[in-house]
């Protein structure tokens, strides 16, 4: 996940993963890994939307496609690290868990969380994708050309 060109690549990756986790999953993994630390809210969880943009003809000028629901929050651990969450859907407790994880990933506990939370989550999401991709692959057409009736 490390990328020499983008110093934020690591955090981008874990925040993206937390945003796409199924409902309740981050909280379950987090509580199994550790007792949650104390924190104060800088922004309590709020539900809103993001306007999703796309490009005309896939690569042309941008246009507004429609919105999606998003829940966000920001908190500060007692040790001072600030955690943010922007996750899909209307899920306040999931946003809280995601922001706690984002903050904890900036502490000494990061390696443990990576092993016990981020990696299992990543594997689960990849497995779900792979299952769908395999079903799609089974519907791939193998054309074979019939001999044309010439002569």
């Amino acid at each position: 996940m490390k990328n020499g060109f983008d110093e934020n690549a690591d955090r981008k990756a874990w925040m993206g993963l937390l945003a796409k986790a199924p409902a309740g999953r981050v909280a379950t993994l987090l509580d199994a890994a550790m007792t949650r630390p104390g924190f104060t809210w800088l922004r309590t969880p709020e539900i809103g939307s993001a306007m999703v943009r796309a490009r005309a003809g896939a690569t042309g000028a941008p246009f507004n496609l429609g919105e999606m629901t998003v829940t966000r929050c920001t908190l500060k651990l007692e040790s001072g690290e600030v955690g943010h969450a922007y996750i899909q859907g209307r899920r306040k407790s999931d946003a809280e868990a995601a922001a706690v994880v984002d903050a904890l990933m900036q502490t000494g506990i990061a390696d443990r969380l990576r092993a016990q939370l981020l990696e299992p989550l990543h594997d689960e999401l990849s497995a779900a994708k792979a299952t769908r991709a395999a079903k799609a692959a089974a519907t791939k057409v193998d054309f074979f050309t019939l001999a044309r009736g010439e002569g």
Partner: protein, 362 residues
């Protein structure tokens, strides 16, 4: 003119109570859960997401339940809810080139790299009612096969290499947003695409069909149709960089259209574009055909006066919530209006002597 009429409160309350009971239906039959609607009526959920202009399958399923399956009413509920949401920002334009495709077909290129992937389609079903579905039962798991890794390129990229197809003009101008500013003419392509993606599916289908039958014929082939999910990335000001905030399911249709050339452009293929929330290929193809028809002016084509070429006609009538709002308002009390009309007709008849004629006839 409207006059406040009081006295209907109890009738309205009772009507709502009965509506709730009718919605539930026969209590001997198990109640539908929102999750059941989301999972088992997913294409209705997708239509509500697309035309409600808000991607949230759980909310769309709830709206369908509340609306008793009336999809336009459900879309209305979603649009109303959407207006209550604070907007946190806008995403970077999604890249459909990295779509995880459930389906991906081309009607123009048989041997496209990545292959023709049929996905969960109705296309080759016999359209015969399946009475097995009437009895409950487990569905066997669909077969799977090892998938190739990597992104699936767009078909039109291949035509592009030969220069045989127009390149869409690039740019990063912030697009207009009809949810923030009222729709104004002339509407540029970005605004037209936004209006079309949330347009009523039936209206878009009818217009698209009219172009195929000769009203602004533009000889469309489906260059590519793909359905799948794409990540959505948004710039987060407090972070100073963009992160993925989720994934949306999209249907994308690119048409390749014959074009003989004009004063402005050499002979080449042109493109129409459809992109819709959810799995909705009828809508995506319709959108692409109408998008292409509306582009007559920038391509220097003749306006033959076809409905699908008339941006004002298309865009002002495509929204089913606007349309149904205005249409259905005429069932609301217009007692005074009608009273004055009645007076007018009586007066005109008196003046024309119609009353006497009738009396004489009797």
């Amino acid at each position: 003119m409207y006059v406040a009429v009081k006295g209907g409160e109890r009738a309205i309350e009772n009507a709502h109570a009965w509506l709730a009971e009718e919605r539930r239906g026969d209590t001997e039959i198990a109640e539908l859960s929102v999750a059941q609607i989301r999972e088992q009526l997913s294409l209705a959920v997708h239509r509500v997401s697309a035309e409600g202009s808000l991607f949230d399958p759980d909310l769309a399923a709830l709206a369908i339940k509340q609306a008793r399956g009336d999809l336009i009413e459900a879309i209305f509920l979603i649009r109303a809810y959407r207006t209550t949401l604070p907007r946190f920002g806008f995403s970077k334009p999604v890249d459909t080139g990295v779509m995880t495709c459930d389906r991906r077909i081309s009607a123009s290129f048989k041997d496209l790299p990545g292959g023709q992937v049929l996905g969960p389609t109705f296309d080759y079903s016999h359209r015969l009612l399946d009475f097995k579905l009437a009895a409950e039962g487990e569905v066997p798991e669909a077969p799977s096969q090892e998938a190739e890794a990597g992104d699936v390129p767009h078909v039109t990229d291949f035509l592009n290499r030969e220069g045989l197809i127009e390149e869409p003009p690039h740019g990063d101008t912030p697009p207009p947003d009809l949810t923030r500013e009222p729709l104004e003419m002339p509407a540029d392509r970005a605004l037209r695409l936004q209006a079309l993606t949330r347009a009523d599916e039936g209206f878009a289908l009818g217009l698209a069909y009219s172009t195929q039958r000769g009203y602004a014929r533009n000889h469309a082939f489906v260059g590519e149709l793909r359905i799948g999910s794409v990540p959505v990335e948004m710039e987060i000001p407090e972070l100073g960089f963009a992160i993925e905030i989720g994934e949306v399911v999209l249907t994308e249709c690119e048409t390749v259209n014959q074009f003989k050339g004009s004063k402005a452009e050499p002979p080449q293929f042109t493109r129409g574009y459809g992109l819709v929330f959810g799995q909705s290929e009828r809508k995506a193809i319709s959108m692409a055909l109408v998008d292409r028809a509306l582009r007559w002016e920038e391509l220097g084509e003749d306006n033959i006066g076809a409905p699908a070429q008339d941006a004002e006609f298309v865009l002002y009538h495509a929204d089913n919530i606007q349309a149904t709002g205005f249409l259905e308002h005429i069932k609301l009390p217009h007692y005074v209006d009608f009273q004055s009309e009645l007076e007018l007709v009586r007066k005109l008849r008196r003046e024309a002597g119609t009353d006497q004629v009738q009396e004489a006839a009797e």
